[in-house]
């Protein structure tokens, strides 16, 4: 009896590695600390009412951002573990098994649990405010999306200490990810973590498309929609077409593993190439899904900090929509080397090159937005300016990779690694940082310290080039990705060591950002204007942080940069736009169902990971029950009375 319990425990929990034990201890301590603080200050009710059950897009956005920054920390630590292992030849810092788990986790964390939620956080914060809306189209669904993402991410993260992590790469190609290659539960944690959060992502895509189509303020025609919102629109189109592919692909892989189906096994009629095609049919649009909103952020920031209208608005919109369309026709460039033949390779090589055209046009438009403007260098603009050279170089190496026969020499080498980090960090991450710095005062009502922010920017940027430029060269010297170690004879040491230094510099940059936030909270510099940057779009016309109902009266839009034009009119001595009388505001009620249902999803995922149907089936019942409960709940809305609106506006210093 005792022995069987011992066996179970040593199989259930990850054991045998001091790093893991350290992590176990810190997880337990952190949990205890959180519980203690919440109890000591009597904050459980506050947590439940104000956050866990909220349907307010601004709060959902904040929760997305906090979760994604935590994931950035974890993914970053994974990156530094890898860079340490590769700093010297024949390092024994991580065992090969551990290294494989770390790089798999790093990829999944960064793309799915860092980039996606940080992006959704910015969607949530900015889109309704830019549209002049009171919330997203489906606030309940929005909350459910967040909690599905969060529970999916937790399920995936749990494999770190329970059962063992996935170790077949972030896209887990079969047959390696089948039971033959990966018999442990790590792969199932991967499947269910990604699956559950993927359903949340799909719902977010639908939600924001409907929001943008249906909830624009009166007068906001399509040609007056702010450019960031356009970028969200094009990204969401890509989401609703691409994510179902991911859901189906992972479901088939799970059937292979759970029921012994043979969709992707090499025997029994399956074909692993099918999986590789399917996963990249999602995976390639996915990279555009995460980079398009970053383009939107850059477009907003570059106009605001150049004190000038965005150059070539129509071109920009067309370019983004064409990117989200073309994104579906390039997936095969991830495996030119599979031997599909010259005709197929050429088709995908050319489609890939074509995508560089609208992207290049956007760069020129940003440059000419600055041209004949007045550029100031606050942190959002710094990240935008850091993005341009970085992304241009990354795009150039991308075009080099797209030439199929040349790719035979680049594929899966560190040249590729350097390329995609350059476009994903230089494009998406810099973009989200720019967006986060830009909207921070609107989200929290205070500004971040600019001096520390500039330090963080420069350390990050220098660290980036030191880390990834050498990787191009070591890739051309034959080093392939996912190597857990290499010998002295290869001659890769110097480049790898340099790269590791760069990696740690980026980590230092991150610490500066943490310091910046902590410092700014302590010496809070409140934003009383609501428009600290002198920006252009509607979200800056309301107080910071935005009140619960966003807009006391729904704005009537007459221009593309409506707030900027309004400020110009006032500065020219003309009368501001007339505001209608206050009316009670119709708002959605909080709901506990999203949180509870997401826990049920987590339960299902956890049960199926271990093939414990006695856990999974109650979870399924819980999902059905919460869905039913919500269907029959008609008490979902309320009105904010005029008095309360007046009081809130007066507190924010606004006379209504």
């Amino acid at each position: 009896m005792i022995d069987s319990i011992k066996d179970f425990v040593s199989w259930f929990f990850v054991t045998g590695d001091p790093l893991i034990y350290g992590a176990d201890v810190s997880i337990v301590l952190t949990t205890v600390a959180i519980i203690f603080v919440l109890t000591y200050f009597g904050k459980w009710g506050w947590l439940w009412r104000e956050w866990l059950t909220t349907v307010d897009h601004k709060r959902v956005g904040i929760m997305y951002i906090i979760a994604s920054l935590l994931m950035l920390f974890r993914g970053g630590v994974d990156a530094l573990l890898m860079r340490t292992q590769l700093a010297f030849p024949d390092m024994k810092f991580l065992s090969p098994e551990h290294y494989n788990e770390v790089f798999t986790t790093h990829g999944v964390e960064m793309i799915l649990f860092m980039a996606m939620p940080l992006m959704f956080g910015l969607f949530n914060i900015a889109v309704p405010l830019q549209l002049g809306a009171r919330d997203v189209a489906f606030p309940f669904l929005n909350s459910l999306s967040f909690w599905l993402f969060f529970m999916g991410a937790m399920l995936f993260n749990m494999s770190f200490v329970i059962g063992g992590s996935a170790n077949a790469g972030w896209l887990s190609y079969p047959p390696l990810s089948e039971l033959t290659g990966s018999p442990s539960v790590g792969e199932d944690f991967y499947i269910w973590g990604v699956q559950i959060s993927g359903i949340g992502s799909l719902m977010t895509g639908i939600n924001f498309i409907v929001t943008i189509v249906k909830m624009r303020a009166p007068g906001m025609t399509w040609s007056k929609v702010p450019i960031f919102t356009w970028s969200v629109f094009s990204s969401c189109i890509a989401i609703i077409v691409a994510f179902p592919v991911l859901t189906v692909t992972l479901a088939l892989l799970f059937l292979d593993r759970f029921l012994g189906a043979h969709f992707f096994t090499m025997d029994g009629g399956g074909n692993a190439m099918m999986y590789v095609n399917l996963i990249w049919m999602w995976g390639h649009p996915e990279v555009y899904i995460i980079v398009l909103p970053a383009f939107g952020v850059f477009s907003e920031v570059v106009a605001a900090f150049s004190r000038k209208r965005l150059f070539g608005y129509a071109s920009m919109v067309f370019a983004m929509l064409s990117i989200s369309f073309l994104a579906y026709f390039t997936w095969l460039h991830h495996f030119f080397t599979m031997g599909s033949g010259a005709d197929v390779n050429l088709f995908f090589a050319i489609t890939t090159m074509i995508i560089a055209i609208p992207t290049g046009v956007k760069i020129f438009n940003w440059l000419f937005t600055m041209y004949r403007g007045r550029i100031s260098f606050e942190t959002p603009m710094l990240w935008t300016l850091g993005f341009i050279p970085c992304f241009v170089v990354g795009g150039m190496t991308g075009v080099m990779l797209s030439a199929a026969p040349a790719d035979f020499q680049f594929h899966n080498s560190y040249f590729l690694i350097a390329h995609f980090h350059q476009v994903l960090i230089g494009g998406a991450v810099f973009g989200y940082f720019a967006g986060l710095y830009y909207w921070w005062p609107k989200i929290f009502g205070f500004k971040l310290n600019e001096t520390i922010g500039k330090w963080a920017f420069w350390i990050w940027n220098i660290g980036f080039y030191v880390c990834f430029m050498p990787q191009y060269f070591v890739g051309l010297d034959g080093m392939t990705r996912r190597l857990s170690s290499y010998g002295w004879d290869r001659g890769w040491w110097a480049m790898n060591f340099t790269s590791t230094i760069g990696g740690f510099l980026m980590g230092l940059g991150f610490l500066f950002q943490v310091w910046q936030i902590a410092h700014s909270i302590k010496f809070m510099e409140k934003d009383t204007t609501g428009d600290p940057w002198g920006a252009r779009t509607l979200e800056w016309s309301i107080p910071s942080p935005a009140p619960l109902y966003n807009f006391a009266t729904v704005p009537v839009v007459t221009d593309r940069d409506d707030w900027w034009e309004e400020k110009e009119r006032i500065a020219a001595g003309k009368a501001p736009k007339a505001k209608p009388a206050l009316e009670p505001i119709h708002m959605p009620k909080n709901s506990s169902i999203p949180f509870i249902q997401a826990i049920c999803w987590f339960t299902v995922g956890f049960g199926l990971v271990f093939h414990w149907l006695w856990i999974a089936i109650p979870g399924f019942i819980g999902i059905a029950a919460t869905m039913l409960a919500h269907s029959f709940n008609y008490d979902t809305d309320y009105y904010i009375p005029v008095d309360e609106i007046k009081r809130t506006e007066a507190e924010a210093g606004r006379i209504v």
Partner: protein, 347 residues
């Protein structure tokens, strides 16, 4: 602004450092030091694409630096300020036109090279090609020389100036076969055989590696491709044949078990081994008529074997998709001539 002052030198330094690194590094980087016709053409293509990209890259970086400097928000900056100027059809046509023109050139160049460098296209040569059958295993490479009747593990010897026809498959996860100085690269996948022609123009030891992650000891899948003169190659073949170390069916099963391996040389290989490795997985997929019967026979044999050797499975119990050693056992005992084998070729 101190930051704007820092920006320009940083970009300049970056471009300079990049150019210097490129110029100095190209010679030592093996992709830029090809020793065969395929690698040579691939290097040319890389150079062309890089040049075409630099034609855009360098001016864009220079313009960026100049715009940031010229239009910075500083008192007394006399540069024009036109806050509502946001459209110019002429200018936009120009910068839609430039990338379109460059991509057009690049597409034409790529098209020519894509057909010229199709991996399965034979290399024109006066010397008769030699076939090498490559199998990626967990975690080692098996190279069979069907014409010479020998085999090696984790090293490859080829005669110079002779086209080598590689036929590649996998008995395990998907890998990728890469010898950068001869040219790259193609996936090895179980259940099918891919073809790639390479050639070495001069003798030397060239690094080879697996390029697609296959699990625990993936990092130990490096190998050496040694190019020698024809005479030395023939002598090496003769020595290998006389080494007396034959690869048996059982030996192959041992070899196929997960784990790294040292270099090995085999004087002979079982007849039709490569074809059987390919077909092992393809009985129900694109296999010719008659194969189903064979598959059934096999599964009967498997059952029999399984009861005889219950310990033969590699993986923990409950693993319903495992590829057991007895799978290979069974076809090892069937006479290949009695069951005609076919290869899925060039899929």
């Amino acid at each position: 602004m101190p930051t704007s002052k820092l920006m320009r030198p940083l970009i300049t330094c970056g471009v300079l450092a990049g150019t210097v690194m490129l110029a100095s590094g190209c010679k030592s980087m093996i992709v830029f030091d090809p020793k065969g016709p395929i690698g040579l053409q691939q290097r040319d293509l890389i150079n062309i694409t890089m040049l075409l990209c630099l034609i855009i890259l360098v001016p864009v970086l220079v313009i960026t630096a100049w715009i940031i400097w010229r239009f910075r928000d500083k008192k007394g900056n006399k540069a024009p300020y036109q806050p509502v100027w946001s459209h110019s059809t002429k200018l936009e046509i120009v910068w839609w036109g430039i990338p379109i023109a460059v991509i057009l050139v690049l597409a034409i160049v790529t098209a020519r090279y894509t057909y010229a460098l199709d991996p399965a296209k034979p290399i024109a040569s006066d010397n008769k090609p030699i076939t090498v059958q490559v199998t990626s295993l967990d975690w080692k490479w098996l190279f069979q020389y069907p014409e010479q009747g020998i085999a090696t593990v984790n090293y490859l010897v080829i005669p110079e100036r002779t086209p080598i026809k590689f036929e590649l498959t996998s008995d395990g996860p998907m890998n990728s076969f890469w010898v950068p100085q001869l040219g790259g690269m193609i996936y090895t996948m179980s259940g099918m055989a891919t073809t790639m022609y390479l050639q070495a123009d001069e003798p030397g030891n060239y690094m080879g590696t697996g390029a697609n992650f296959t699990g625990r000891d993936f990092a130990k899948m490096g190998f050496t491709a040694k190019a020698t003169s024809k005479a030395e190659f023939d002598q090496w073949v003769a020595e290998a044949k006389n080494s007396g170390n034959a690869l048996s069916e059982e030996g192959y099963q041992q070899l196929a078990k997960p784990g790294p391996s040292n270099r090995m040389t085999f004087a002979s290989v079982p007849s039709g081994l490569f074809e059987r490795i390919v077909n092992e997985y393809s009985t129900s997929r694109g296999a010719p008529p008659g194969y189903t019967i064979k598959a059934e026979t096999l599964s009967e044999e498997k059952k029999a074997e399984h009861t005889e050797h219950p310990e033969s499975g590699q993986l923990p119990p409950g693993n319903n998709a495992q590829k057991d050693a007895h799978d290979i056992n069974s076809f090892g005992q069937s006479d290949p001539k009695a069951h005609p084998m076919h290869m899925n070729h060039g899929k």
